[in-house]
């Protein structure tokens, strides 16, 4: 029990005609990073809002940090931090003003709230923002301040016991993404349990100890990153040819299981799952050279979320929205 930070059992939530959560189960061990991976509309935000006491589930049981989110909401709120999908900051105030405000509302006391604000500004490299209002911040700065605000946390001035991050890097440039990732890694060292939602397998792979794949309000796969990779067919190799006319010939000569290879003539692309990354890479390069087929690019990569879904559910006809 003490080793479990989060328990979600059979949770359902409906909005009008939409069953956003449809009997979702989740268990997160204390001090770990748990990735919730799913496409747009899967129910990730609904789950995070329920876990952080913002939304009441229609049915099911949810415990966070040893307390029921419905009946003991205040106890839960004392122990959590939340980084929502959209910035939750006072846009008119400056960075320090925001953090002091949240610190006071966390009942740190005026002096302690100031100290904690300074400490977090320093930690997230925001000291130079001075009195500038948040509305004038760049996207990366705003996300960092939002993350800092979600860590205001405990009365004793430490990070919160449980932290929820809802698509923390969506919309950030690669630099902003790297900053958020390193911040998350530093947290885990401090014993905080993190639940992180994402649409990117790469992100879950980078940060999470375990991953739950969510589709249509349910968990459709659950496990460590390695277990999941095995389930999803592991990494892939992409071969882009110079001449689309040679795709058929390449398909025949490459040392890849023909049944698993997908061919995209528009992009002159062959793509296939691989088990042993390096062996597959050198075998493909050698085969192409020997046959004299010119390749523009040969690359190893993680499967995309689409491919994971295709593998797990057999359907990839989901309508994708851009955020």
């Amino acid at each position: 029990m003490a080793d479990t930070a989060i328990t979600v059992e059979e949770v359902r939530k409906r909005y009008g005609d939409t069953q956003a959560l449809d009997g979702l189960d989740l268990t997160v061990a204390r001090g770990t990073v748990h990735g919730v991976l799913g496409p747009n509309g899967a129910g990730k935000t609904t789950l995070v809002r329920i876990l952080s006491t913002l939304l009441r589930p229609d049915s099911g049981r949810v415990e966070v940090a040893g307390h029921d989110v419905v009946r003991q909401a205040r106890e839960v709120r004392l122990r959590i931090g939340l980084l929502g999908q959209h910035a939750a900051l006072d846009e008119e105030l400056g960075g320090r003003q925001n953090l002091e405000l949240f610190g006071r509302l966390h009942h740190l006391g005026a002096r302690h709230a100031r100290v904690r604000a300074d400490e977090l500004l320093e930690r997230f490299d925001l000291t130079a923002t001075g009195r500038k209002p948040v509305r004038a911040f760049s996207g990366g700065m705003r996300r960092r301040l939002d993350l800092a605000a979600s860590l205001i946390g405990n009365r004793d001035g430490t990070d919160p016991e449980v932290l929820f991050l809802d698509e923390p890097t969506t919309g950030l440039d690669p630099r902003g993404r790297a900053e958020v990732w390193s911040a998350v890694r530093s947290l885990v060292g401090g014993g905080t349990t993190v639940v992180l939602t994402t649409q990117y397998l790469e992100e879950a792979d980078q940060l999470a100890d375990r991953i739950s794949v969510v589709d249509r309000g349910r968990v459709i796969a659950d496990g460590t990153v390695d277990e999941l990779k095995a389930l999803t067919g592991g990494d892939r190799i992409d071969v882009v040819l110079r001449d689309a006319g040679l795709l058929g010939a390449a398909l025949a000569l490459l040392p890849l299981p023909a049944a698993d290879v997908t061919v995209d003539p528009d992009r002159r692309l062959l793509s296939a799952p691989v088990t042993d990354r390096m062996a597959a890479l050198s075998a493909v390069v050698r085969a192409l050279e020997e046959a004299g087929v010119e390749a523009e690019d040969v690359a190893l990569r993680r499967p995309t979320l689409d491919e994971v879904f295709l593998h797990l559910t057999g359907h990839d006809d989901r309508t994708k929205e851009t955020v």
Binding site: L55, L82, E91, L101, H106
Partner: protein
């Protein structure tokens, strides 16, 4: 956890004060607008149908009450904007006292209205208006006006929680005008056609204007008028305060 109700409310009030400090222009516009109305109705439009005696003596209490009534849309706009901002989620996910968001808003709005009254009274005095009732009556009049503003405030909060969208604020902003002018603020109901006069007399704002007129005037207060100006806002508060608080605490569920 009620121990934190006061400190949290104070923190939220300070947040509003910090907003003012950031954008003093908005505050100033809010203060200048009623002064403009006063000058317009006092000197340009030439109202005061059916009013005997000095029109400024009649108009000042009316304008003060009208300013309090228009506070409703200001509150509604502010609450609507707050609710549509992401920061409200952070407030809700924190262990702060229930309702501190609303109490902070109402404290800041009351403060702004008190300053607004002071400015309008100062302008009136500069124009030659002289309250006759003595300091006690003067304070009682200000008290009645603020009580009325407090009722308007909670109606504004409730409407914002029910409507929740900026478009609805516009609708209310348009509606507040006829309701504000369908009162005895600018002209005596006796000068109006029968049904209109009745509607005007029933308008809670008219009651506040009448009672303050008594208190500022030489003849002294009429107990029935004072009673009405106390009872109406209290009745509105008894309805809208609990409705708004309940709505707010339940909203996200």
């Amino acid at each position: 956890m009620t121990t934190y109700a006061l400190t949290d409310s104070w923190t939220m009030t300070r947040r509003e004060l910090a907003h003012w400090a950031r954008q003093p222009g908005r505050l100033v516009v809010g203060l200048v607008f009623p002064v403009m109305l006063l000058l317009m109705f006092g000197y340009l439009v030439g109202g005061g149908r059916g009013v005997s005696g000095d029109y400024l003596d009649y108009l000042m209490p009316g304008m003060l009450a009208l300013t309090m009534a228009f506070g409703l849309e200001g509150t509604m706009l502010a609450v609507t904007q707050d609710l549509n901002k992401g920061v409200i989620d952070r407030f809700r996910a924190m262990p702060m006292a229930d309702g501190a968001v609303l109490v902070g808003r109402s404290a800041a709005d009351m403060l702004q209205s008190a300053v607004g009254l002071a400015v309008l009274i100062a302008v009136g005095l500069a124009l030659g208006w002289r309250p006759q009732g003595g300091p006690g009556s003067f304070l009682a009049a200000v008290g009645l006006l603020l009580l009325f503003r407090f009722a308007m405030l909670w109606i504004g909060i409730h409407l914002a929680l029910v409507a929740g969208k900026p478009e609805m604020v516009q609708a209310v902003q348009i509606l507040v005008w006829p309701v504000g002018f369908l009162s005895n603020a600018l002209a005596a109901p006796t000068s109006m056609p029968g049904w209109l006069g009745t509607a005007v007399e029933w308008n809670p704002m008219s009651r506040t204007a009448t009672a303050t007129r008594d208190l500022f005037g030489a003849a002294g207060p009429d107990a029935a008028h004072i009673w009405a100006a106390v009872a109406w806002p209290l009745a509105l508060l008894a309805i809208f305060f609990p409705l708004a608080v309940r709505r707010f605490t339940r909203m996200s569920h």
